[in-house]
């Protein structure tokens, strides 16, 4: 129900609420409910035993830390790409813009195959990296590379539309008032794009947590060392142990959901802060 304080000027509350609830319920919540019901079939001790086994904990560590590193890489790279693509005009800009979505268009298995071929000791990159002691394939670095590659578009595409809409007259005004480029960026641009940037990072992180196809190609899949949670889930499914698979999936989902919830709250708080400051 709408909050009493908000002025209900704009139309469409009922319609959009109806469409959203119908869709969210049918497409997202109902399947997740089915998973939770599967989980309900097992007792709490059994649930705890599965999600806290040594192998599972090792898998969380490798998955979460790799997703974290991948997200940092994508935050920096994504911001750079979005900035360059929206702010500068240079030959090949359109092509670069088009290429950003490539990692999404490739089936993840192909992405994994491409990466593992590039980083093989005879591969285009591996032949230069391996002699210098940089081994990517079948190490955590490979997992990070696969996660980062498959989620490149998130930050770029989240920041890009907002950056395009940043009020340039505001920047021009600041410039005439003697503000430096850096001041303009930190005071005007950064606060505007921050919610989108965080949103992109979170999606990138969440996607990395669940990434399977590309990672299994390059990870080595050695239990306790380079075995990610998604692979463990896949193994449990192959053992026809649906409950265990659902339990592990639930952990991934819960972490992703809490991250989303926290950052969305943060973004909302930040937006209000900016609005108040404006």
């Amino acid at each position: 129900m709408p909050n009493q304080r908000s002025k209900h000027l704009l139309p469409g509350f009922g319609l959009t609420m109806g469409v959203s609830l119908f869709y969210v319920t049918l497409v997202i919540l109902l399947p997740i409910l089915a998973m939770l019901l599967k989980l309900a079939g097992m007792g709490l001790p059994e649930f705890w035993r599965i999600i806290s086994s040594r192998r599972a904990i090792a898998a969380y560590q490798i998955t979460f830390s790799s997703a974290f590193y991948a997200t940092i890489i994508n935050g920096v790279v994504g911001l750079l790409l979005a900035w360059v693509l929206t702010r500068y005009r240079f030959p090949g800009r359109r092509i670069l813009d088009a290429l950003v979505d490539l990692p999404f268009a490739l089936p993840t298995a192909v992405a994994g195959l491409v990466l593992v071929t590039l980083f093989a000791d005879t591969g285009w990159y591996g032949q230069f990296l391996e002699p210098n002691g940089l081994k990517i394939n079948y190490t955590q670095a490979g997992i990070v590379a696969a996660m980062a590659f498959t989620s490149i578009p998130f930050v770029v595409r989240a920041v890009q539309p907002v950056l395009e809409e940043v009020d340039e007259s505001l920047e021009a005004a600041a410039e005439t008032l003697g503000a430096s480029r850096w001041q303009i960026f930190t005071r005007i641009i950064w606060p505007t794009i921050l919610p989108a940037f965080i949103g992109g990072c979170v999606l990138s992180f969440a996607r990395s947590l669940g990434e399977f196809g590309a990672v299994v190609f390059i990870a080595g899949n050695i239990p306790g060392v380079t075995e990610i949670v998604s692979l463990l889930i896949f193994i449990r499914l192959d053992e026809y142990n649906y409950e265990a698979a659902a339990a592990l999936a639930f952990v991934l989902l819960a972490v992703a959901f809490l991250t989303l919830l926290a950052t969305n709250a943060l973004a909302a708080w930040q937006t209000r802060y900016v609005e108040r400051a404006a």
């Binding site: 319920t25 049918l26 593992v116 093989a120 079948y138 899949n221 192959d238």
Partner: protein
Amino acid sequence: MNKLLLSAAAALALVATPALAQPTDLLNASYDIARELFDEENAAFIPAYQAANGVAVTINQSHAGTSTQARAILEGLPADVVTFNQVTDIEKLVEGGFVSADWQSEFANSASPFYSLPAFLVRAGNPKGISDWGDLARDDVSVIFPNPKTSGNARYTYLAARAWANEEFAGDEAKVVEYLTKVFLNVPVFETGGRGATTAFAERGLGDVLITFEAEVLSAVSLLGADKYESVVPSVSLLAEFPVAIVDKVVDSRGSRDLAKAYLDFLYSDDGQRIAAGRNHRVNNETVAAEFADRFPEVRLVNVDEAFGGWAKVSEEHFAEGGLLDQVFVNQ
């Protein structure tokens, strides 16, 4: 709300499956690397069936890992027949009431029209001199086989290695475990499927030896070049069956039992066996086996029943979570 959702789901379900009297199509759910084999079998079966029955039929193929396939059938994939490379996955269909419990007596050779065995693929000239299972535990040997947790192929490898070790160490379990642990430590990467392992070995040059089905080893040699690879058959190996079954629940509701039976029978016919042997599978048909004798060296085979007391026991003791496999694989 629930009612609304249900009717919405019903409205969305565009595809209904009415039970036809005499279907002329058949769905064969098979393992993931069998596409070319069954392309060839189907191309031979269709005219043979038409000649005998005057009906042109369509054979549809679905390929994936056999656990995935069994799961899909349990959840409603309308496969009339299964042609797997794992006995245990058909047993899952038995448990679910989709396949009758005596399926192994419905067709010859325990319902396995052809068979294979774990064998070795090494680089040309066999530079590391790998000839038997014992060599896999050497410190200077890097071994490639897929993840036994996700690949049936690798489960056969594990069992074959264990069968050899049981004989070698006269049943001394501590030594067997030590040997197997060493072998697993020599594996740099566990691909999720058999073909992935072959690609890692061949395309990326990983490992000194690839262990996979002999059928795969021989295909790799002929496809990728006899100048680059050669096959090694160990002193003893494990019989790897490729079991087939009629999915009773599906054929009974579709009325396709006769066609399904004719299809699986065809795999046992001379023509069907010749195609399988041509694709490097060993067959029991004596005429065809003689034709292809020079392709398959003599090897001593043990089977799961003799060596391990049957698949049910193997699943429980070795492959279940925390089982004997996990002891040598997970607790490295």
